[in-house]
């Protein structure tokens, strides 16, 4: 469903992504692991075009996203409208929940459907309520982010991403900023989503969780995918020496 080919990205002289190839099937869950600074978050941001990339191509259901190739070989960004439309086909959840602080949980979740997808107000609100209920926050719809715990805020952020009905969910270390006792409630929400067959790409340091839900795990180092395979192969029989070392360190 998602085809990533030869993505390259440099910040000034520092190459962060050195030609990433990755295909994600419909309903597949892929976990990206690796040392901090290996480029996994940058890759995730490139997929959603929150970061532009220097070369390569990202396709979603055959449609080339973000850039179009001119006949001269140059590439141009799509128009803002097209970019917005394409971004709406993905949802992203960040490490720091990033809710809009001046809006209630309901308003946060409503915003995308109402003004991004231009649904009529009542329809958008109904959808927002549904998704807040789905993450177990039906009774907190009118709370402001500051009145919610970290775990609750992150669940609102997940509901906000899901309310756009995305084809794929991008999760960027969504439990790293949480107190340990709040991690479980967020992981439960994600676990429930795996039953619904939505594709996910997650950047994570929670190896046990990745093993549990991911169909495949990709190990990134120096801006490349050094090894990719099923969770069991990757974690129990790692071949790449870097990965072996990485797994030893975090266990």
């Amino acid at each position: 469903m998602i085809e990533i080919r030869g993505i390259r990205k440099a910040f000034g002289p520092v190459a962060v992504l050195n030609g990433i190839d990755l295909s994600i099937a419909k309903g597949e869950i892929v976990a990206l692991i690796g040392r901090s600074g290996c480029g996994k978050t940058t890759l995730l941001r490139c997929i959603n075009f929150l970061e532009d990339y220097d070369a390569g191509e990202i396709k979603l259901d055959g449609e080339v996203l973000w850039y179009r190739q001119l006949e001269t070989g140059e590439r141009r960004r799509h128009s803002e409208r097209d970019l917005a439309r394409q971004r709406q086909r993905m949802g992203i959840v960040f490490q720091q929940f990033n809710l809009f602080p001046h809006m209630t949980a309901l308003e946060n979740v409503c915003l995308g459907p109402r003004f991004g997808q231009k649904l009529p107000g009542p329809t958008a609100e109904l959808r927002a309520r549904e998704h807040l209920a789905r993450v177990g926050l039906a009774d907190r719809v009118n709370s402001y982010p500051a009145q919610l715990s970290g775990g609750q805020q992150q669940r609102v952020a997940i509901a906000r991403a899901l309310a756009m009905k995305p084809q794929v969910l991008l999760l960027d270390e969504i439990t790293s900023a949480l107190d340990p006792e709040l991690v479980a409630e967020v992981e439960d929400v994600i676990r429930a989503l795996t039953q619904e067959g939505i594709a996910m790409v997650l950047v994570t340091h929670a190896i046990a969780f990745a093993r549990e839900i991911a169909h495949r795990i990709a190990y990134l180092a120096e801006g490349q995918i050094m090894e990719i395979g099923t969770a069991r192969d990757m974690l129990d029989r790692p071949r790449d020496p870097g990965l072996q070392d990485f797994l030893r360190r975090i266990r």
């Binding site: 803002e80 992203i92 990033n98 809006m103 906000r160």
Partner: protein, 220 residues
């Protein structure tokens, strides 16, 4: 000769004119600043340069000089102009520069991840402005904005130099007539203080109201 009760009455009238001048300039200056601030973030270098030039000139000039300059320049090129019109123009330009910088600071204070959220939700630019940037900037910048509003009341005294009859000019007239220097100046000071205090109170109430709507937020 001591100042009389009718002098006091005259001074309150002059004070209300000062307040009126300040309020009109605050309203117009805010409107102008709302047009200016987007220039600072425009994708075109020429727009950003124009913005910086405007701020540089207006903020870098003493208001007194600005008042004289604009009054005489307008009079020379436009023919006779009422000092009141010129006064409002001067204060408007001055406040617009200060407000625009306050708003610019507010936009810069929006955390980058929130911009990312707007983008990934596919919000159109106008919605981002209305639903996110506007409300956040309003909350971030209310205290410095009020600061400038209070300054506006006091800056209006400068307009006495171009013969705008407001509290400072009226006080000087009364002093010249009565020679009751200290009492008149003390009354003028009290009147200025009351006006500033009123703005301060009003702002504080607005802040509390915004805080009640989710913005005590980060301080809870």
């Amino acid at each position: 000769m001591a100042m009389t009760l009718s002098d006091l009455w005259v001074m309150t009238q002059a004070a209300s004119l000062s307040l009126l001048l300040a309020l009109a300039s605050i309203a117009l200056g805010t409107a102008l600043a709302l047009l200016l601030t987007p220039l600072a973030f425009a994708p075109w270098a020429i727009a950003r340069m124009l913005y910086r030039l405007f701020i540089f000139v207006v903020r870098g000039t003493p208001v007194l000089l600005l008042a004289l300059l604009i009054f005489y320049a307008l009079a020379a090129f436009w023919g006779r102009i009422s000092p009141y019109t010129a006064g409002v123009i001067v204060l408007t330009l001055y406040l617009a520069a200060l407000f625009a910088e306050v708003f610019r600071g507010g936009v810069l204070a929006i955390p980058r991840p929130l911009w990312d959220c707007c983008k990934s939700l596919g919000l159109p630019r106008l919605s981002i402005l209305r639903r996110v940037v506007g409300p956040l900037v309003a909350r971030y910048t209310l205290p410095p904005y009020l600061n400038v509003c209070v300054m506006a009341v006091k800056a209006s005294s400068v307009l006495s130099i171009i013969s705008v009859w407001e509290l400072t000019l009226a006080s000087r007239e009364i002093i010249e007539r009565t020679l009751d220097v200290y009492r008149v100046l003390a009354v003028a000071a009290i009147l200025y203080f009351l006006m500033c205090f009123a703005i301060d109170r009003l702002g504080r109430r607005l802040e509390i109201r915004l805080a009640a709507r989710g913005f005590a937020g980060e301080r809870l």
